[in-house]
């Protein structure tokens, strides 16, 4: 099985994403119709049964998340996380550009499940052209009547990676500094303007129309059992075909690189692959025969994350790459909590020292301690995940560090 399996991207480039009519012609908005014919509880159960888990990184069961939203408050929100800040990730942009109406339909389905007509899309600041397109797509869908009472507003980020974290995203929509909130309370109970809010990723929402039209069992039968469905991956780095693919979730990482990706660029040998974005673990070649689904990745100490696949060939300098990643996190930490605010800065300092041949064994020891505490004690996922590239390369590529020490 080395083929793509396209669900979300089946009609890519064949329909105009701005046009509700085009989308309806290929079966669109049938899922919303069906969802609205169900009572919200059954709808949520159906989504739960499909096994759909969040595509934004944390992999939480979508229906389960919705079921935590209390019924009684009148105002609730459906928020789409389109911050897509992970370097090397652009799958949400592709989904919007190829199939924006599916995202809108998915949000409206969620709206029916939790009893909300208020949708927001929080779009990455570097995507102004997609915002224009989305606004037209929303206008067109509203005009066609397909969305009914469900409204969607688009808000833009300003380039902060941390605003992809759902509570920082909410703060940002509210007009505050983009700082994550402590949890609980979770957004499902106290989110946007302190009202119950569901935050899901673009891809998560875009799966919903297909689950509704084809049934939960159909979806649950695709790919890996514990993380069913398809996943859109984006390939970057030393790879022959640096592009995007949609594959079932039991697809092997090796096939992503050597079949769809066409292999390492220039026929070189693979050194490592980083899956899930900048905070992902570095996977050595001996672990390539792992399915890309959430739990299989977790079992080898990695994470599927956003589905970015960054390939490094044998000539790459791991320590130099980690140094750059450390700089990224030092720049993107919101500065709220001590382990991450100070820790990302000191990680960067130590990595710079090692990378320029001024590091010592003591530095590596300190790096390990710091990484452990950042993971255990940071307030949000950014600080918790920032040291993963460091710890995973110290595990698999320690010799590259050692040979750079004084």
């Amino acid at each position: 099985m080395t083929q793509e399996y396209r669900v979300l991207l089946e009609h890519a480039d064949k329909i105009n994403p701005e046009s509700a009519a085009d989308y309806i012609q290929v079966g669109g908005y049938k899922g919303l119709e069906k969802a609205r014919s169900m009572n919200p509880k059954d709808l949520t159960e159906e989504v739960k049964k499909s096994g759909l888990r969040g595509r934004g990184g944390a992999g939480f069961n979508a229906g389960m998340k919705w079921s935590f939203v209390p019924q009684y408050p009148e105002t609730k929100y459906v928020v789409c996380n389109f911050d897509e800040g992970e370097p090397g990730t652009y799958k949400d942009r592709i989904i919007c550009q190829k199939n924006a109406q599916a995202l809108l339909e998915g949000m409206a389905i969620c709206g029916h499940a939790i009893g909300s007509n208020n949708g927001y899309i929080y779009c990455r600041g570097e995507y102004p052209f997609v915002v224009e397109m989305l606004k037209k797509a929303i206008g067109n869908a509203k005009e066609s009547g397909a969305l009914g009472e469900f409204n969607i507003e688009v808000r833009m980020g300003a380039g902060a990676y941390v605003c992809g974290e759902e509570t920082a995203l909410i703060e940002s929509i509210e007009g505050h500094r983009g700082e994550p909130r402590f949890k609980p309370p979770f957004p499902g109970v106290e989110g946007l303007w302190r009202m119950p809010t569901v935050v899901n990723n673009v891809e998560t929402f875009a799966c919903l129309p297909y689950i509704m039209t084809n049934g939960a069992d159909w979806f649950a039968g695709i790919g890996a059992k514990s993380y069913p469905g398809t996943k859109v991956l984006t390939l970057t780095g030393d790879i022959e075909n640096p592009t995007y693919f949609e594959v079932p979730t039991d697809y092997l990482l090796r096939d992503v690189i050597y079949e769809l990706g066409g292999g390492v660029k220039g026929g070189k040998k693979l050194k490592a692959v980083q899956v899930g974005g900048t905070s992902g673990a570095f996977i050595p070649s001996q672990n390539l025969d792992t399915p890309i689904d959430f739990d299989s990745m977790g079992a080898i100490g990695a994470a599927l994350g956003s589905g970015a696949v960054f390939v490094m060939d044998e000539s790459r300098d791991i320590v130099d790459i980690i140094n750059r990643i450390a700089k990224f996190f030092e720049h993107e930490s919101c500065g709220q909590c001590t382990p991450c605010r100070e820790g990302t800065f000191r990680c960067k300092e130590i990595m710079e020292r090692i990378n320029t041949g001024r590091g010592s064994l003591k530095d590596i020891e300190n790096l390990k301690v710091l990484a452990r505490i950042m993971q255990k004690a940071s307030l949000c996922g950014l600080g918790q995940a920032a040291p993963i590239p460091i710890t995973s390369t110290l595990e698999h590529f320690e010799y590259e560090y050692l040979r750079k020490l004084v």
Partner: protein, 354 residues
């Protein structure tokens, strides 16, 4: 509804919704904190108060984590201690460690916790900031090279005083406390109440008026009522060698029920007049257009005689009294009593009504 949990091997019961910090303290555990302040919104950001719930992957900040039924908590496990040490070392790595000349010496959280966990220096020492703010205002010293970024000052300024003069500026390691556009306090909405000094857990904020006259931790503290206005805020005069050298405030609602430690610029910074050589030290009697010092007996007798004479000649209603907003309620009560009962006039009023 009460829930049951185990903290350091001790079973305790707390009401649903209680945060772990409170539960741990109830169980007798001493939890260190920087950003937690019982009078302010929770921040959960310093991560000093972390504890270990059994079976959880990560440590949790006890100040913002609700206690759950059946939880088993360790407050000094090796992971917890390591995390607290690293947090302290990360703070020290950017800290201008000058305890010997610091106003906060002796009552500084950073100092106390480093002592408690035996943190003498930082494994993460490296580049330090230069964040000292040369702020020309007469009252508040802002030395952010000692700041631990707990944001208590920001929250106190907004939530207690309502001035919103300061906030966090910039991101990550560059984040620091600033007024809008990083200007001076004088050009901000700051009203110089000094609530920010009151809540600062370290020596980053201190009083310029009291600087160098005695470390607050070593001064005698005399609880009294501010004499500036009728609000009647409680504060502590800092006394050293029989001289007032500063004002701090007591935040305990039982001791300071009116203001819970909050003061205004006059109460917190306007005390140096007490030692002024220009102050009156005896009553003065004016004779032939000149004042001369007199004893209290002589002055009071003279005043009583004059009042009696006026009353005899023109009746009690010809006399009225304005008392002061700067004396206490009890003194104002006595003032009206004197007018009504002793002099016999209802013409009594108060300067705050004018």
């Amino acid at each position: 509804m009460d829930i049951k949990l185990t903290i350091d091997g001790k079973e305790i019961e707390v009401p649903q919704g209680t945060m772990l910090l409170e539960a741990c303290r109830k169980a007798g555990a001493d939890i260190p904190t920087f950003c937690y302040d019982p009078d302010l919104k929770l921040a959960g950001s310093c991560r000093m108060c972390v504890v270990q719930p059994k079976g959880w992957r990560n440590l949790v900040a006890s100040c913002v984590t609700p206690a759950q039924n059946g939880m088993v908590i360790e407050t000094e496990s090796s992971d917890v201690v390591e995390a607290r040490k690293v947090v302290l070392e990360l703070m020290l790595a950017r800290h201008k460690l000058t305890c010997h000349t610091c106003e906060k010496d002796g009552e500084c959280n950073l100092q106390d916790y480093c002592y408690r966990y035996g943190v003498t220096e930082s494994r993460f020492a490296g580049k330090v900031h230069n964040l000292f703010k040369d702020d020309s205002n007469p009252f508040i010293e802002r030395d952010y090279d000692k700041c631990v970024m707990c944001t208590r000052c920001v929250r106190a300024c907004e939530e207690i005083t309502g001035a919103r003069a300061i906030n966090v500026m910039d991101r990550g390691h560059h984040a620091h406390i600033a007024t809008a556009y990083d200007g001076s306090l004088e050009d901000s909405p700051c009203v110089f109440c000094g609530q920010c000094i009151m809540v600062c857990p370290v020596g980053a904020l201190s009083s310029k008026i009291a600087a160098g006259q005695g470390k607050p931790a070593q001064n005698d503290k005399v609880m009294t009522t501010c004499t500036y206005c009728g609000t009647g805020c409680t504060f502590e005069l800092n006394v050293k060698n029989d001289k007032i050298v500063g004002v701090t405030s007591n935040r305990d609602a039982e001791w300071s029920p009116v203001n819970k430690g909050a003061l205004c610029v006059k109460g917190r910074f306007g005390w140096d007049f007490v030692n002024s050589p220009e102050r009156l030290t005896t009553p003065l009697i004016k004779e032939n257009g000149e004042f001369r010092p007199a004893s209290w007996d002589e002055a009071l007798d003279l005043a009583a005689d004059k009042i009696k004479a006026v009353k005899e000649q023109y009746g009690p209603d010809s006399i009225s009294m304005f008392s002061s907003a700067r004396i206490t309620n009890e003194e104002n009560y006595l003032a009206q009593k004197l007018m009504r009962a002793a002099i016999g006039s209802n013409n009594v009023d108060h300067c705050a009504r004018l």
